[in-house]
């Protein structure tokens, strides 16, 4: 093959990539960065500066919403890891060959069901006239129907539900590669269950843990439907604030500022996670999708 033909095909293949990343990812991010730095002082008159960010830092409502979103997202990530790890280990190592595939497939089915349907399912189960409340009343456990929606516990249950599969899938695919003889060696050398878990299983599963945590954290922090539908009016979720500023109030400057802040914050957490564990984006997130 001649070198010119190679160059030509490289350019032809690179062009769609450059158009996609340039026009739909990089330029739009620069766009919201630009909008977030300007301030409307009159009709079609703008000043540039960090005033929008200063406004954000001074408004306790917005600041607290970001902290709350961050805090709940981290909590949900931890919960998903702690609850999902035993399940992944069971599927990857304990279940027999045939039931393994079935269990894994069962894990994947809710993954394909829209967020909206899942949140709606929780509403049907948990609201005041819902299945759980009615069933408890008819069994005589409680006297009157109770409202189980619109509180933080429900939001967290719903969020863990929405994201836990994204934790289990990378964990299972990492741990499936683990050789049983590693575990046997650990036990033969006198390790207790805890030691084997801490010194062999966890280090082996680390790429899966990091990948799962990053994906779960990103999805939680960026989620909209679950906190809004299950948390109701007091959900105060950050993406909801972005939507309100953009669509309801038509205050694009504030909305773009919030957007940049959310993006910076989530990128910071992802970067920290990768740094602390010595992984890279290409080896974790890209591997399992």
């Amino acid at each position: 093959m001649s070198r010119d033909a190679g160059r030509l095909s490289l350019i032809l293949l690179f062009a769609p990539f450059a158009l996609w990343i340039g026009l739909l990812i990089i330029l739009p991010q620069i766009g919201i960065g630009y909008i977030s730095l300007r301030e409307k002082v009159g009709i079609n008159e703008y000043e540039f500066g960090f005033k929008n960010y200063a406004d954000f830092a001074q408004a306790a409502v917005y600041r607290n919403t970001l902290f709350r979103t961050a805090w709940i997202s981290i909590l949900v990530t931890m919960l998903a890891l702690v609850l999902g790890f035993p399940i992944s280990y069971y599927i990857a190592k304990i279940a027999r060959e045939r039931s393994r595939a079935a269990l894994f497939l069962m894990c994947l089915i809710p993954l394909w069901v829209s967020d909206l349907v899942r949140a709606y399912g929780w509403i049907v189960l948990l609201r005041e006239t819902g299945v759980v409340s009615t069933a408890l009343v008819s069994m005589g456990v409680i006297n009157e129907p109770i409202e189980m929606l619109y509180n933080d516990v429900t939001v967290i249950i719903g969020l863990v539900y929405t994201v836990i599969l994204f934790m289990i899938v990378p964990l299972v695919s990492t741990m499936q590669g683990m050789d049983d003889s590693l575990l046997e060696a650990g036990f033969n050398l006198g390790g207790s269950r805890l030691t084997v878990f801490r010194r062999i299983v966890v280090p082996y599963a680390m790429p899966g843990i990091v990948a799962g945590c990053i994906i779960v954290f990103m999805i939680t922090a960026g989620s909209y439907l679950t906190p809004v539908l299950l948390g109701g009016k007091n959900s105060s979720w950050f993406t909801e604030q972005i939507y309100n500023q953009f669509i309801t109030r038509y205050n694009w400057e504030a909305g773009a500022t919030f957007g940049v802040l959310l993006l910076l914050f989530t990128s910071l957490v992802v970067w920290l996670g990768l740094r602390l564990t010595g992984q890279s984006l290409a080896t974790t997130v890209a591997k399992d999708t």
Partner: protein
Amino acid sequence: MQGSNHLLWIYRVYVGLFFLYLVAPLLAAGAFAFNDSTFPSLPWRGFTLDWFISDTEPKLGLLNDEPLLRGMWNSFYIGMIVAALSVAAGTCNAFLFVRKDFPFKSAFYVLMVVPLVIPGVILGISILVLASMIANFADSQFGLFLTWLRPGVPLIVLGQFSFLTTITSLVIAARLQKFDISLEEAALNLGASRLRVLTTVALPFLFPALFSAFIVAFLVSFENFNTTLMLVGSDAPLTITMYDRMVKVGSTPVLNAVSVVLMVGSGLLALLSVVAQRSPKSD
């Protein structure tokens, strides 16, 4: 090892409870589509298909619910367009990253993965902002009205395409990596043109990955909410229509009926994509 048996038993119970947690909301969303009542809640008043086929209020069935059907149609054609575009772009990206060498390749690879870690809401608003800036500029400088850059179907397509292309690229690149390059060389040596080699050797090999990338892209597009919410105009796709109904009207069993259709539909498609990837030809 008495204790070990106990532990294993507790472990199994935990796994069982977990799967109950997984299916409970889906069962609840599905079951009440068949309850003969105007509210999706207990008590059970008997089996009915009214929420699918009835044509009279107050139990207007899904098949006669104009806005929901329109939403479904919008989601369907948006999904087909987005899936086709992102599979085409994903194939180019796969060839670019698997076959070609160029400066800063690993940095570009990270850029390709980045759309997956940008929250969907932000992808939505950023594309909205850029499109509006361009449209405003065209309007003020040249007096052009670029309506396709205002919220609506074209922007939804662009917004979903922006992150689905990453997924399709990864799926297709994974398959292309397994391809034995000597097959192509053999075909070239036998006198086939480059285009001929591509269409008769490489693309047939890639077909299972192309097919399942298409299905995944279609499903994710069909179910996308966050990005779409920011870009939606007057032609709302199904998820937006459903959400509006939920917020404005509250829950009605017709939403359960939609849920059943979505679950069955996406289940079948997901199964199809799994089968396509595992077909005997593929390994």
